[in-house]
Structure formats: C-alpha cells, structure tokens
C-alpha cells in the first residue's frame, strides 16, 4: 500500500470516526467548569452533578477546570469544550467579565451556558444559579459571629481575592446588616487570595494588629481553615472565634478543638445537582427568561428574576452537634 493510500485511508477513518461521534448525540454532554481543580467544594459539586446524571440517565458529565483560579485558564478550558461540541456548559467563573466573550462564542455555536456559584456577566450566560440569596448569606455570617460574642466586640473579615464576585457581594450584604447587631464592630477586611499560606499570614496579621479581636469571619473555605489554624497556633482558642463559610470535612478538627464554634455552607452536592438539572432542562428547550420557573429535580424549581438569576436554598449551619454526620459527605 502506498503512503498516499495509507494517508487517505487514515483521513477517511478520521472522518468516519467524527461522523460516528456526531451520531451519538442523544447522550447530553454537560461540562461542569469549576474555578480550579482540587478544591473540596467543587469535588462535592461534581458528586451532585454525577447524581443528577444518574437520575437523568442520558447525561455524561465532563468535570473540568484550570489548575489555578485564573480567567485565562478557564478560557482555555472553554475553548476546548467548544471544540468538543459539548451540549451545555455550567461554569463557576473566576472573573465575570473576562470569560464572557468565550462563553458568547459557545452560545453562538448552540451550546447552553449557565453559571452557578460565582456568576458570569449577563451577556455571557443564559441564567445564573446562586447557591442562596446573597442577603441571607451576608446576614448569616455576621449572625454566626454575633451568636458567640454576647458582649459584642471587634470582628474582621478574611476574604478570598479582591476580585472574587461572590465574596464581594456577601461582604457588601454583611456590611448592610451590621447596624442590626449593635455590639459587632467590623475593624478590617483582608484578602488571602484563596491561598492557604497567604490566608494564614493575613489571619496572623489580624491577630497581631487587633488585640481586642473576638471573631474572624472568612466567607471562603480556604480562608476559614487557614484562620482557624492561625488562631490555634497563636493559642487564642476561646478568645477568637473563627466563623464563616467552610466545608464540614475540613472544619471537623477546628470545631472539635473549639477554634470554630459554628460555620455555615449550603450543600455543594445540591448545588452541582441543581446546576446539572438546569443545564439539562435548558438544553432540552426550557426557556431561560425573567419569570420562568425551571425544574431542578429534587431541589424543586428555580424561579428566574429580572437578571435571569435564581437562588437555590438557604445556607445551613454546622456545629459540634452535626459535624460528625456531615464531615464524611463533603
């Protein structure tokens, strides 16, 4: 067989292979794009997505994301998903604006695009699923701190990056409800960039700078863990209470030692499940428009507001009474 004929056969086979893949389009391929791989929260969301896929039957989940929490990395991931011609992309964005052009391109090629957890600018997605309402979260994180400081005192916030969409909204909402908690005095907001070592150093800085600090509020799973470690290492257990949003599996130790008395989180398993259900239903023709109600399986239905956003459920408080039960789940 001549080289030319060999090459032609290979080319023909490639075309046949591509056609064959096209014919298998009945299985919906839904990509769950996360901020970065290797984060417990998103691994748990993937579990929920897989659960939804099993329930729906004809769904294949592609769980993917960049190594670092960068918008550039997510755009590379989105481009490769567009190239694979997936049916839907459900993304938790590192940057609401920077990923929008790439997602617009995906929508132009008939891919359903929704965002969940950390949103995308309106023009870059069909709908956004908030894990809870921002107002409720903002209130919850302040309430968690206030619950354990009856005499009031200084609190500080340790956030993720200064560009994290969701953290910024929650802190804004938290600041709004502060007047309802007269004793609580917010002294500083610092950024640990969702990096364990930087968050730890920022927490150390807070402990050193504010001698009357009663609580550190970290609305990020990386930050709360690092802060509770910093408080433990500084020998301040009992004096400073670390609270905020964390994962039960990572926080079990801190709750046991008393560095953290209670913290909150929605259920990321439910979130991944609901996002997958929504992506599936929209991809199958459900209209994402203001006022629409789109079913999300066992989580009920999402009602879209004027910005095509919906809230899933209330955040849930974890403490010594229930941590043992949840720490093995996520």
């Amino acid at each position: 067989m001549s080289i030319l004929r060999k090459a032609l056969t290979t080319a023909a086979m490639t075309v046949a292979l591509m056609a064959a893949t096209g014919a298998h389009a009945e299985t919906k391929r839904i990509a769950l794009v996360v901020k970065a791989l290797g984060i417990g929260f998103f691994e748990a969301a993937n579990k929920g997505a897989e659960e939804a896929a099993k329930e729906l039957g004809d769904v294949e989940i592609i769980y993917t994301g960049p190594t670092d929490t960068t918008a550039e990395g997510q755009i590379e991931v989105i481009n490769s998903l567009i190239a694979q011609g997936v049916d839907a992309i459900a993304i938790s964005a590192n940057d609401p604006d920077a990923v929008a052009p790439a997602l617009q391109k995906a929508m132009e090629r008939d891919i359903t695009v929704i965002s969940w957890d950390s949103g995308v600018a309106k023009e870059g997605r069909q709908m956004h699923l908030n894990p809870s309402s921002s107002a409720l979260i903002g209130n919850t994180i302040i309430k968690l701190a206030a619950d354990h400081m009856p005499e009031g005192g200084d609190v500080a916030i340790l956030s993720a990056t200064s560009t994290s969409t969701n953290q910024n909204i929650w802190i804004e909402e938290a600041t709004k409800v502060l007047p309802n908690y007269p004793g609580v005095n917010l002294v500083a907001t610092v950024y640990g960039d969702d990096l364990a070592d930087k968050s730890y150093r920022e927490a150390q800085g807070l402990i050193a700078t504010y001698p009357n600090l009663k609580a550190i509020i970290a609305p990020t799973t990386v930050g709360i863990l690092a802060a509770s470690q910093a408080v433990t290492d500084a020998g301040k257990i009992g004096a400073i209470n670390v609270t905020g949003l964390g994962l039960p599996s990572e926080m079990a130790g801190a709750v046991a030692s008393g560095a953290t008395k209670s913290f909150a989180i929605w259920n990321p398993i439910d979130l991944g499940y609901a996002a997958t259900m929504l992506a599936y239903n929209i991809s199958n023709g459900a209209k994402a428009e203001p006022g629409a109600s789109i079913p999300m399986g066992r989580m009920g239905a999402a009602t879209l507001d004027d910005n095509n956003e919906a809230a899933m459920s209330d955040p849930f408080t974890y403490d010594a009474s229930n941590i043992e039960q949840f720490k093995s789940i996520f």
Partner: protein, 330 residues
C-alpha cells in the same frame, strides 16, 4: 625517493551543514511538535478541525509575542520577570484611557506606550545603574501590578469599544486570527533581528562575555537598555491582544504568565545562562506548548497533569544536552 606531502584539507566545519541541522535542538523540537500533532489527531476526533486548531492558537500567541523579546533578553544574559505585571498595568492604563472617552487608536497607543515606559524603567535600573535584572524585575513585578490594584481594587474596566475587540477576537482571513498573523509577523521580525543583523550578533556577544563584548566596541549598556524596551513593548502588544480578547481589565489579568513565557523560551533551546538560542526554537516551543495544552484539554485531562507534563518536558530539555554530552565523553 622522496614522497611529496599530500595537501592537507582543513574543513571549516567538522560536520556537514545538513547533519548539523538534523542534530540541532530545533530539529528535535520539530519532531516533538509533529509527534504531538499526530498523537492529538488520533487521541481526539475534534482535533483535526481548522476552527478548533485556530481557537487553540490563542493558548500561546500572546505568550509567544513576549517570549520572542524575552529570548533576546535571556540570550544577552538578562531576564525580565515583570512582563505579566506590565500587561496588568498596560491594560489598566488602556482602561483609564477608554473611560476618559477616547477611541480604539488612543487605547492601543496607551497600551504600547505603557509597555515602553515600564521597559524603560527596568532598562534604566539594569543597564544604567547596573543592578541585577532578576532583582530589579521581581521588584517591578510587584510595583506594576500593585499600581493596577490601587487603581482598580475589586473593580473592572468593561465596555471597550466594539472595534477594539478585533485585536483579540478578529480574523484577518478565514481561520487566521489577527493574533496568529501578528505572531507570524513578529516571529519573522525577531528572526531577522537576532540572526541577520549586527544587533543580533551583539546580543550573543554580550551573553557570552559582556566584558569582551565591551572591549570589542559593543555598546553593552545601550543594547541591554534596548532589549528591556523591546520586552516592554512586546508586553504592551500582548496587553492589547489579551485585553481585547477578554473584553475587560482586572488587576489579576495575566497572573503567572511570566513563568510560562520563561518556560517557553527555555524549552525553545535558549540557554538560561545566556549566549545561545534561536527564534525558530522559541516558535516551535510555543507551538508545542499550545498543542499540548489544547490536546490535553480536548481529552479533559486535568490541568495539573498538563503542568506536570510541561514541567517534565522542561527538565528533560535542560537535562538532555548534558546527558548527551556526558555519554559522548564516555
């Protein structure tokens, strides 16, 4: 009887030009590029598609533009680690110019001018004051990005004019994007500059022995200054492309890109100690990195595996010539 001495032939090269070319670093890189291309074509049915390949080029074009200038800088024995921060600052200045109501030409000029100014500052410290470039540029790395953070905080510049999107999202002809064409033009430009001009010879001379270069009449200080200017300008050009592609500016733009650029240059066969390297090598390294990232992306391989692969490729790149040398000596 006396024997006439046979005329001795002293070859100007020990090996023929052809075998030299075949054994060169570029030949090895070319083989790797072809291998990666073939492996990708077999691994994924989506790889051999003109539009998908075109999308893949965005993974490396911006980094490669900077890598060309960085290659010259490293050959001359210097380094610039502030390139990603120059992008952040240039993009921020472009955002400010846009907010002030100016159009696309002014925005682009502002980006390029900022790049040049940053390069001039680096060049002043290194070439004029004689400070080590690694120290200076680690400093300016924080400085430039720090200014962007001061200007923007957790805000973003969005709403760039429609025609500005052309630089990062437009196509010159068919699948050939503006960025890809610019990459090709710059590659040729830098090839001529390094391999066909006196300036290029001077760069090699300085990298091999700056003192000898000085005594042979090369204006070392000026060449170094120009190289930093050039790197700044290329970062400015990359900033225009990246900002246009993202359609927005945040201070976290291009975080960590400096290391990817240096990786590209070293993989391209440029000696990190200075004195040797070529532009075709850098072009091939850019293409290999782009193809590997895109190919792995199509297979939904986690990003960390890609990083490990690129890391091994890089260590292999540096170790291989040494090992080969050791073997030859026996």
């Amino acid at each position: 009887m006396t024997t006439k001495p046979t005329p001795r032939v002293i070859p100007d090269r020990l090996t023929s030009p052809l075998s030299r070319a075949l054994r060169s670093w570029e030949a090895l890189l070319f083989a790797v590029a072809v291998a990666v291309f073939i492996a990708n074509s077999f691994a994924s049915p989506y790889f051999l598609n003109a539009w998908n390949l075109s999308d893949a080029t965005f993974n490396f074009t911006e980094k490669a533009m900077i890598a060309f200038a960085m290659a010259l800088l490293i050959i001359a024995g210097e380094i610039d680690l502030s390139v990603a921060s120059i992008i952040a600052l240039a993009s921020t200045v472009m955002g400010l110019v846009m907010t002030a109501g100016f159009g696309t030409p002014e925005i682009v000029l502002a980006g390029l001018a900022t790049g040049l100014a940053c390069g001039a500052l680096n060049g002043f410290f290194v070439a004029r004051l004689g400070l080590p470039s690694i120290v200076v540029t680690i400093g300016t790395m924080s400085l430039f990005r720090g200014i962007s953070y001061i200007v923007l905080g957790d805000q973003a510049f969005t709403g760039y004019p429609k025609d500005f999107a052309y630089f990062g999202q437009g196509y010159v002809w068919w699948v050939f994007s503006f960025e890809l064409v610019l990459f090709a033009v710059l590659a040729i430009g830098f090839y001529i500059l390094l391999h066909r001009t006196n300036f290029g010879r001077a760069v090699y001379a300085i990298g091999n022995n700056p003192t000898a270069a000085l005594f042979s009449g090369i204006r070392v200080e000026r060449v170094r200054f120009i190289l930093f200017l050039l790197t700044g300008l290329m970062s400015g050009i990359a900033a225009v492309c990246l900002t246009s592609r993202l359609g927005s500016t945040r201070p976290s733009i291009a975080t960590g890109m400096e290391l990817e650029v240096v990786t590209m240059v070293v993989l391209g066969g440029v000696s990190i100690l200075g004195g040797s390297g070529s532009i075709p090598g850098v072009v091939l390294a850019a293409i290999i990195m782009g193809l590997v990232t895109f190919g792995f992306g199509l297979l939904n391989v986690p990003g960390i595996v890609m990083s490990i692969f690129l890391g091994l490729l890089l260590i292999g790149t540096i170790a291989l010539p040494r090992l080969a040398k050791g073997l030859r000596r026996g």
